[in-house]
């Protein structure tokens, strides 16, 4: 617990030291809500039939997709991004020379960003509902939270693979690019997946985030209880069971590799 606190505090202090970027982050989070509202207004009554499954409210659909995809994308990218920063700053070696467990030392620098991301997402959903008319009146929050936690776990498995990639190859770019494209193109962030061309739909459903967003929208917009979300839970559980152990294994193998080759401090 002491180490988790130290890592979280360090992340906060470091982020807050870039004042403009720190506050810009919050301003951007507020502005994007207005963008979603304007976009929803623009489409107005011309909303496709595919939205009917969610009650036809495009703003709430967009808010859930945009806000949660941004948060879950942290699971995909943040471990690698923070690790890359530690490598270039020269702080990875002294951190790994401490008594902290190596896995925590490698992944811990992302803790603050996750916490901050969670707070921002919660604030965005609250502001969307209280100020901009998002409808969560039927939401089953416990079901959504359970599905959200499982989603973060599944995506973090991929994030661990990305971190292992950075540890060995020193750059996150290829995986980071892939994560962005897959997230926003195929996962149904801005539109329901059935609107994708038929040939692309299998790619969409190969992504855990597609199932996660579908399940979360059903829980938050239609009040689907956990019992009704079994299919999504099972899919996310399967992704987690495959990706998390694989990611942890890759990270440990990466650490063994850099210790053997003496490239821990290289970047």
């Amino acid at each position: 617990m002491t180490r988790l606190l130290a890592l979280t505090r360090r992340g906060l202090l470091h982020a807050a030291s870039y004042r403009l970027s720190f506050f810009g982050n919050y301003l951007g989070a507020a502005l994007v809500l207005i963008f979603y509202r304007v976009l929803a207004e623009f489409y107005g009554a011309a909303q496709p039939a595919a939205l009917a499954a969610y009650g036809g409210d495009y703003f709430t659909f967009l808010l859930i997709g945009g806000v949660l995809a941004r948060f879950f994308s942290l699971g995909l990218k943040q471990f690698a991004r923070e690790l890359e920063h530690e490598l270039t700053a020269g702080t990875l070696e002294p951190v790994l020379a401490t008594a902290a467990p190596p896995t925590l030392a490698l992944l811990g620098p992302a803790l603050w960003t996750f916490l901050e991301g969670l707070l921002i997402a919660a604030a965005q959903l609250a502001a969307g509902a209280l100020l901009l008319g998002a409808d969560f009146s039927r939401a089953d929050w416990p079901a959504a939270l359970a599905l959200g936690a499982l989603t973060l776990l599944a995506l973090s498995g991929w994030g661990l693979l990305a971190a292992a990639f950075v540890l060995v190859f020193k750059r996150a770019d290829p995986l980071s690019w892939l994560a962005d494209v897959t997230l926003y193109m195929f996962a149904g962030v801005y539109f329901p997946i059935p609107l994708l061309p038929a040939v692309l739909r299998p790619f969409a459903y190969a992504l855990p985030l597609s199932h996660a967003l579908e399940g979360l929208r059903l829980a938050l917009m239609r009040g689907e209880p956990l019992a009704g979300l079994g299919r999504y839970l099972l899919i996310l559980l399967a992704f987690s069971a495959a990706l998390v152990p694989l990611g942890l294994w890759a990270l440990r193998a990466g650490l063994r590799h850099v210790r053997r080759t003496g490239s821990l401090g290289h970047y």
Binding site: T2, R3, L5, A6, L7, R9, R10, L13, H14, S17, Y18, A89, G90, T91, E93, P94, V95, L96, A97, T98, A99, A100, P101, A105, R256, R259, R260, T261, G262, L264, G265
Partner: protein, 317 residues
């Protein structure tokens, strides 16, 4: 030397880095031991394997072969236990979060070492005081001079009060005064006041002679010599090269000196300069021969001083 179990013990330790043309050996079968409370120096030219050795002991590099133990703990099999008992001062001065203050950096690393926030605050404040950084404690680490960063580096290594400290070229890049101050601090604080076992690598001979009770000389990953700096110098003097500078040429003198039992060889560098390889310290016979020479002797002294001789002798021809 103490009879207590060694604080650091390595046997047949080897490491090779992967290279395009095959493995590149950095350490080749190193065996040595450091006693508890000892200030032990590793000395050698660039590429001798000193930093690799420290990185293995700090569990940052896995040895290819052999064993290394710190306080009886195997660095490969028990790395977590080893890390809890060591402090590492790396030669990389840019190893802090530059935008965080010195105090925030120390409190963060104290937390990683497992100190609770209140204990971390106290410990950081104490060490900032000890290392003369109190006035700059709340300035970002990136604004620190090299000397201040190195002192912060040593303070970081002491946060969890480890019994064993590794110092990898701690005075690298420091000006003469800052280096002298840091050396005094290292000697007084680490060994004098806190009784730590210290393993130091350096290129600075004066530093080695001033700080270390014993020294190991590495060359191309092999141990070439080990012992007290004074002993190594004395042993090196056993076959040291002396330079003899004459006021004017003396063609016959080289032959006369070569006949003396104490002289292994005589090389004429020029008409007035001879280099004598001696089998020991210059004896009475040699002084007498020089006194009896027809030409005045301008200078007669070892070609190199102290550990330079030892280091040169450690290197293969």
């Amino acid at each position: 030397m103490s009879t207590a179990p060694p604080a650091i013990a390595v046997s047949d330790l080897a490491h090779a880095y992967p290279g395009r043309a095959g493995p590149v050996p950095a350490l080749r079968g190193l065996t040595l031991a450091v006693a508890p409370g000892e200030f032990f120096g590793l000395f050698g030219p660039n590429g001798a394997g000193k930093t690799t050795f420290i990185r293995i002991l700090a569990t940052l590099v896995t040895p290819t072969a052999g064993r290394a133990r710190v306080l009886g703990l195997d660095v490969a099999a028990q790395p977590a236990q080893v890390r809890a008992r060591i402090g590492l001062v790396s030669s990389n001065e840019n190893s802090f979060y530059g935008r965080l203050t010195a105090r925030q950096n120390l409190e963060f690393f104290a937390g990683l070492q497992g100190l609770r926030p209140s204990a971390a605050r106290l410990r950081a404040a104490e060490l900032l005081d000890v290392f003369g950084l109190r006035a700059a404690a709340d300035a970002p680490a990136q604004t620190f001079s090299t000397g201040m960063r190195q002192r912060l580096n040593v303070a970081r290594a002491l946060l969890h009060d480890p019994p064993v400290i590794f110092l990898d070229e701690p005075t690298k890049g420091l000006d003469v005064l800052a280096a002298a101050n840091l050396r005094a601090l290292l000697k007084d604080e680490l060994v004098g006041r806190r009784g730590k076992t210290v393993l130091l690598t350096t290129h600075d001979l004066a530093e080695m002679e001033q700080l270390c009770g014993r020294v190991a000389i590495l060359e191309a990953g092999r141990l070439r010599a080990a012992g007290a700096p004074a002993d190594l110098i004395r042993e090196a003097s056993a076959s040291v090269i002396y330079r003899l500078e004459l006021a004017e040429p003396a063609p016959a003198l080289a032959g006369q000196l070569a006949g003396l039992p104490a002289v292994a060889a005589v090389t004429a560098v020029s008409a007035t300069i001879l280099e004598l390889t001696l089998r020991g310290a210059p004896g009475r016979e040699l002084w007498a021969a020089l006194a009896a020479a027809d030409v005045p002797v301008q200078r007669f002294a070892p070609k190199d001083d102290g550990l330079v001789t030892v280091l040169k002798q450690a290197q293969p021809a």
